[in-house]
């Protein structure tokens, strides 16, 4: 249910992002989902990979500053209003979303949305009650 996401601090300088990607790519780590939040000074790169331990080890070895966060992956049916329905379930339960990012599944063409919540356990309760399909962690790492 809870998916481990790796976050990496990136100085705002060309080549840093490429270095991260190259480093984990060289170790055979596959990226499942990616988001980059930026300011003028620095960025936070968020990755969901197939082998988070290997990715973390490689990046710490190259002296990147990393951290891990628990996030939730929700499967949204490919129809207009699909996401709006999920957001309203969360809103009605007073669940705060820190951030979210989305991508499309290869196999089913459904959308997958990654959420970080202020209170992940309350969010899981609300989503389940609303009949929303939460992906298992292993499913996400294998996407």
């Amino acid at each position: 249910m809870k998916v481990k996401q790796l976050s990496i601090f990136l100085q705002n300088q060309s080549g840093r992002l490429a270095e991260v990607m190259g480093a984990i790519g060289n170790e055979g780590v596959n990226i499942r989902a990616l988001s980059l939040a930026d300011t003028s000074g620095f960025g936070i790169l968020r990755l969901i990979v197939n082998d988070i331990d290997k990715a973390r080890e490689v990046l710490q070895g190259k002296q990147f500053t990393v951290s891990e966060t628990d996030v939730i992956a929700v499967e949204i049916p490919d129809v207009p209003g699909g996401l709006a329905k999920v957001l309203s379930i969360l809103g009605e339960s007073g669940i705060n979303i820190e951030y979210m990012y989305a991508f499309v599944e290869k196999a089913s063409k459904d959308a997958v949305v990654i959420f970080r919540f202020e209170d992940i356990d309350a969010a899981i309760v609300a989503l389940r009650a609303g009949g929303v399909n939460i992906l298992a962690a292993q499913e996400v790492y294998a996407l």
Binding site: Q11, Q63, T65, V66
Partner: protein, 439 residues
């Protein structure tokens, strides 16, 4: 343990009599043997016989670093080269270095002065000491070496650099005392933790000097290396290490070997002497040096004096930890800024590490300051709002401590080079093209 009770615990009245006698002898010798001092004194209209009390020292002209450079290499030597058995020079950052020499007696005086602060720092003949200062023209390595041998410690002259080897020596030889710069001490502490040596080191005493450092940094180093750290002070123009050092028992100021060095504190603007307790520039006169006596040398180091006897038993005056120099003080839009203030500010913020760089640049015609701070894992959050809040906290803290607004740039670990010698904390780009700053 007090190395020389007679001189370190002398009643002040007796000490001042000894100082006056030695001052007269030293000034007379300088006047007679060094043309530079004779000319300077003649120009100032003062003769050695005018020195009748300690207060008369203010009649004598100051000696500046430029005077020493202008007399490069041996113009200030008071003895023939035949009597000089050692030559050292200081780490001159601009132009020619300053050169100093030692007679056999000077070397013994030097070793004695070092033995005093080494003992005050806790080291005895039971200790195994690793000296990571450079051995060479720099006075740090040799100065501590001869002082340590006098005390009878087992000396490992490991010299500077090669951190993996330093750690190997610490672990395999079981070193119990460490001599180095504070920034290298912190680096060794971090490296030791990374190498998993935490509980395996037998370190007890750390003797740090050659650059200014804060109380907060002392705590960091003590915690990372598991030792008791003391400060010591000296400069090659005076003798090298050995001018003063902290007692491990009290750690409240560095005891000055006042029977060998007469220390004044002056206002760096007006050049007038200041009373005990007032902060100003240290001016030092050697009382017993033979080869290169020095009179009223302006050190540019900022400190203040405390003449009260210390609870450790020593009566010689103590000087406060040097806060910075009058000349690496930065002036940003009219405000005086010391790099050490930035260090203190950062260490007061939970989780920040003291790895920072001050970058000075021109914003149009105005001076501007950007502070680079490394982001450690403790500081990093996945939430952007936490990171923005951290930036704000650091910026506000720096503004309140420095009195001037600064730009802040959070950088990746190890962006700021670690040094094995004196840490370079300031990058002054004001006269050059700059990239990547002040956006």
């Amino acid at each position: 343990m007090i190395w020389d009770k007679k001189h370190e615990c002398m009643p002040r009245g007796e000490l001042e009599k000894l100082q006056l006698k030695r001052l007269k002898d030293s000034v007379t010798r300088s006047y007679e043997s060094v043309p530079f001092y004779r000319d300077k004194m003649n120009k100032a209209g003062v003769k050695p016989s005018d020195i009748m009390t300690l207060a008369d020292i203010t009649k004598l002209p100051f000696t500046e670093k430029d005077d020493m450079r202008a007399n490069y290499p041996f113009g200030l030597f008071a003895v023939p080269m035949k009597d000089v058995v050692r030559i050292h020079s200081s780490s001159g950052t601009t132009g020619k270095p300053t050169v100093v020499g030692y007679t056999r007696k000077d070397l013994d005086t030097w070793a004695e002065c070092c033995a005093r602060f080494i003992s005050a720092a806790g080291v005895t003949d039971e200790d195994i000491v690793q000296i990571t200062f450079g051995y060479g023209l720099f006075t740090g390595g040799f100065g501590l070496h001869y002082g340590m041998e006098k005390v009878g410690a087992s000396v490992i002259p490991s010299g500077s650099g090669n951190t993996p080897r330093q750690l190997m020596l610490m672990e395999d030889y079981g070193s119990t005392a460490l001599v180095c710069t504070p920034s290298y001490g912190l680096h060794l502490g971090e490296a030791a933790q990374e190498a998993g040596l935490g509980g395996k080191l037998r370190m007890k005493w750390g003797l740090f000097g050659a650059e200014p450092w804060t109380h907060e940094m002392r705590s960091e180093i003590e915690q990372k290396l598991g030792l008791s750290a003391t400060d010591n002070y000296g400069l090659s123009e005076i003798i090298g290490p050995g001018v003063s050092g902290e007692c491990e028992a009290v750690k409240d100021g560095m005891h000055i070997s006042e029977d060998h060095f007469l220390v004044e504190v002056i206002d760096p603007e007006t050049l007038q002497p200041l009373d005990y307790g007032s902060r100003g520039e240290l001016v030092i006169t050697s009382l017993t040096k033979e080869a290169v006596p020095v009179t009223r040398y302006r050190t540019r180091d900022i400190s203040r004096l405390n003449p009260e006897p210390c609870a450790c038993g020593r009566t010689n005056a103590r000087m406060e930890k040097v806060r910075g120099r009058t000349d690496d003080m930065l002036i940003i839009r009219g405000v005086n800024v010391f790099p050490s203030q930035v260090e203190t500010a950062l260490l007061e913020i939970e989780g920040t590490e003291p790895h920072y760089m001050l970058v000075l640049y021109k914003d149009g015609a105005m001076d501007a300051l950007e502070v680079w701070v490394e982001v450690s894992e403790k500081m990093f959050s996945d939430e952007m709002k936490q990171m923005k809040a951290l930036e704000e906290t650091i910026k506000n803290k720096l503004k309140s401590v420095l009195g001037v607004s600064v730009k802040l740039k959070l950088v990746e670990p190890r962006t700021i080079a670690r040094s094995e010698g004196k840490a370079k904390r300031v990058m002054d780009l004001r006269n050059q093209e700059q990239e990547g700053v002040g956006r």
